[in-house]
């Protein structure tokens, strides 16, 4: 699995969406395969070892949500991303409760899609992160003690800020979106009208950067944030979310 690109199965009947999904997969260095019906999706998922399966709902032949249990029963270890026009909070929660690993509503932002796919590929590749101490450049995070140090300096963080930095650490070096943060750190599956998340990230960022003396959380303009303490400071990091 290390020498060949991860494979992503895309089950989607809308050509435009399928193309966008395949393009995102290729950009991430994965090898996409597209099928257009529910049954073809089930057969393909059972036959090949995919890293990620992207399932639409309201497909010809069935609902992708119902496919999850059958894919799992067939022995597949693929992570399932549901991408659907059924995009209300209630639909997402239903999907997650029925075993989807992530759920993205249409219409989707290509950046958001890439971030979700990347997070799933990463999760699939490194499995469980059970180290008590995570060290990223000067930043040390102790998971059990729930403390954060930069160099030798203790950085006091609130419980929510710790969850935020822990989620960032799991996706270090990659773009995470505001919606991902809201869903994974706050467990909220709706879209607040104001960008409340930015304020929280901004506070955590200031604390870390004051201690580190350089950028730790970077803004990926229009898309989200990248937690990367090792990255050299860039002039583009203006310290504010786009």
């Amino acid at each position: 699995m290390t020498d060949q690109p991860p494979r992503i199965l895309i089950v989607e009947d809308d050509a435009e969406a399928a193309e966008a999904l395949a393009a995102a997969a290729r950009e991430l260095g994965a090898q996409p395969e597209v099928v257009t019906t529910y049954d073809a999706g089930l057969i393909a998922a059972a036959g090949t070892d995919y890293a990620v399966v992207v399932f639409d709902r309201m497909l010809p032949g069935g609902d992708g949500i119902d496919a999850i249990a059958r894919i799992r029963a067939a022995g597949s270890t693929a992570l399932v991303l549901v991408v659907s026009a059924l995009g209300r909070a209630a639909n997402k929660i239903e999907g997650l409760e029925k075993g989807a690993d992530d759920y993205l509503a249409k219409p989707f932002d290509p950046d958001e899609l890439r971030a979700r796919l990347r997070a799933l590929l990463r999760r699939q590749a490194m499995q469980v992160l059970d180290n008590d101490m995570v060290v990223l450049g000067p930043v040390q995070i102790r998971m059990k003690a729930r403390t954060v140090h930069v160099g030798n300096q203790h950085v006091p963080v609130s419980p929510k800020e710790f969850e935020l930095i822990a989620y960032f650490a799991r996706n270090a070096g990659e773009t995470v979106t505001r919606t991902q943060l809201l869903e994974n750190v706050w467990n909220l599956h709706f879209d607040p009208q104001t960008n409340v998340v930015d304020v929280h990230v901004g506070r955590l960022r200031r604390k870390l950067e004051q201690a580190a003396g350089r950028g730790v959380i970077h803004t990926d303009r229009g898309a989200g944030y990248v937690f990367d303490p090792q990255r050299a400071p860039q002039p583009a990091d203006d310290g504010d979310a786009g």
Binding site: E16, A17, G87, A90, P107, D109, K160, V196, V199, R203
Partner: protein, 453 residues
């Protein structure tokens, strides 16, 4: 939920008891008529005995006049006690010639002639009432012959006792029958009522188990089921419709979105279009959220115990830094352990909408306050601010969809926030109110309490 019907209040029991009471009245009436007939037959029988005796005396009188009659009466008097019959024959001076009593009874006036059976008179005596004749025979001889009514009254008393016992037994049987019938009927109706309660509680697919009987109850149950099938089908159709709306609108919007992403240059224009698409999606999401929350209003399925205190605190913490950055004084007073039966995400969205509004419509220096406190049987959630408040003319329609104040036209939003708040509250059996305040905006929502699970 409707309280279980007590058996005593049941219509079935009332009807059965009514019918039983009718039957009892009829039979007691019939027994009363029977009683009357028996009473008069017994009296007639006494009269006939008297008449026969008088006919005997008449024969003796015809043959030997007073001496003959005297012997006959004497003979009768020796074998008959005064508690059975009274006999007295006197001479014209009132001396007793024969009989079983000493003197003429008080108040009895002789009437009639010789030994005719009529007219008869009531005569008081040692055994109560007697009935017979009081005559004055030719020559001034008063004659009294009367038979005690005791056999008649005794028999009638026994008859009355029997009637009373039979009536009591009938009443007891009627009560028992009423109870049994009512229990059977209440059981059948109770099954339907329980089913209706479950359906009203949102369990649209609930049905009675087992086969239907071939009677009126079976027919009623079959009708009930047919109605529920129809309701369920309509409900499913409504759900499918909103899914279809989402699918048919979001799929083309997604195509537009993806194509926009491939256009080079004019980045600002594209970003604006993307924001428009996101705004459009947000509007119909809100509309669908509102109608689905309204459709599920007051239904229990899908609701789980939620620690509203923790949830409200989490949402407040999400907004607190933002409020602080905007120069607002935000405060939360949240009592611990306020549990409600709810949908976590909807409750979070409600609190988030209210805080969002409060922050959106206030200016630096204003106060925003969130409180959650238990009351007698409700948890009261209050969000208030010291902003400009609600324009008076909008008070009545604040919870309607697309209600916006003219002064807020330049602000972001579509006037769906409070409509969604009301729909979510209704989904949880709560009702938001806007109490009048001197300054700013205040919304209160009372939630049904759930004891800590």
């Amino acid at each position: 939920m409707r309280p279980r019907l007590p058996l005593l209040g049941s219509a079935a029991l009332r009807v059965t008891l009514g019918v039983a009471a009718g039957i009892i009245l009829l039979s007691v009436g019939a027994m009363a008529v029977q009683y009357r007939i028996t009473a008069s037959a017994l009296e007639d029988r006494q009269g006939e005995l008297m008449a026969a005796e008088l006919a005997g005396f008449a024969q003796f009188y015809e043959q030997r006049r007073i001496p003959g009659l005297r012997e006959a009466i004497e003979a009768r008097a020796t074998v008959t006690g005064p508690d059975e019959a009274l006999y007295l024959l006197q001479d014209r001076n009132g001396q007793r010639l024969a009989g079983n009593i000493a003197s003429w009874p008080e108040g009895v006036v002789p009437s009639g002639s010789l030994f005719a059976a009529a007219p008869m008179v009531e005569v008081p005596g040692p055994a109560g009432a007697y009935r017979g004749v009081a005559r004055e025979l030719p020559g001034g001889f008063p004659l009294l012959a009367a038979r005690a009514m005791t056999p008649v009254t005794e028999t009638l008393r026994e008859l009355r006792g029997t009637i009373l016992r039979v009536a009591a037994g009938l009443s007891a049987l009627a009560l028992l029958a009423g109870w049994l019938v009512a229990r059977a009927v209440v059981g059948r109706i109770g099954r339907l009522n329980a089913l209706a309660d479950r359906v009203a509680g949102g369990e649209l697919s609930a049905r009675l188990p087992g086969p239907r009987t071939r009677d009126e109850f079976g027919a009623l149950e079959t009708h009930f089921h047919a109605m529920l099938d129809r309701i369920e089908a309509l409900n499913r159709a409504t759900h499918r419709l909103s899914d279809t709306i989402a699918h048919e609108l979001r799929t083309p919007l997604n195509r537009i979105r993806q194509r926009l992403g491939r256009i080079e240059g004019q980045a600002d224009e594209i970003a604006a279009l993307q924001a428009e698409i996101a705004g459009t999606v947000r509007i119909f999401d809100s509309l669908l959220d509102i109608s689905s929350a309204e459709a599920a209003s007051g239904q229990r399925p899908g609701l789980v115990p939620v620690d509203f205190s923790t949830l409200a605190a989490e949402v407040f913490d999400l907004y607190a830094p933002l409020a602080e950055d905007r120069g607002l004084q935000a405060a939360a007073r949240i009592a611990p352990d306020c549990w409600v039966l709810g949908e976590r995400n909807l409750l979070a969205q409600l609190v988030s909408n209210l805080l969002d509004n409060a922050i959106k419509f206030t200016a630096p220096g204003d106060r925003v306050e969130l409180t959650l406190a238990p009351e007698a049987d409700r948890h009261l959630l209050v969000v208030s601010d010291t902003g400009p408040g609600l324009p008076e003319e909008l008070r009545g329609e604040a919870f309607d969809r697309f209600t916006r104040a003219d002064r807020d036209r330049d602000r972001q939003g579509h006037g769906l926030g409070l409509a969604l708040v009301q729909a979510i509250a209704a989904r949880h059996g709560a009702r938001p109110t806007l109490p009048p305040v001197r300054r700013g905006f205040r919304i209160e929502i009372a939630w049904p309490k759930l004891s800590r699970p």
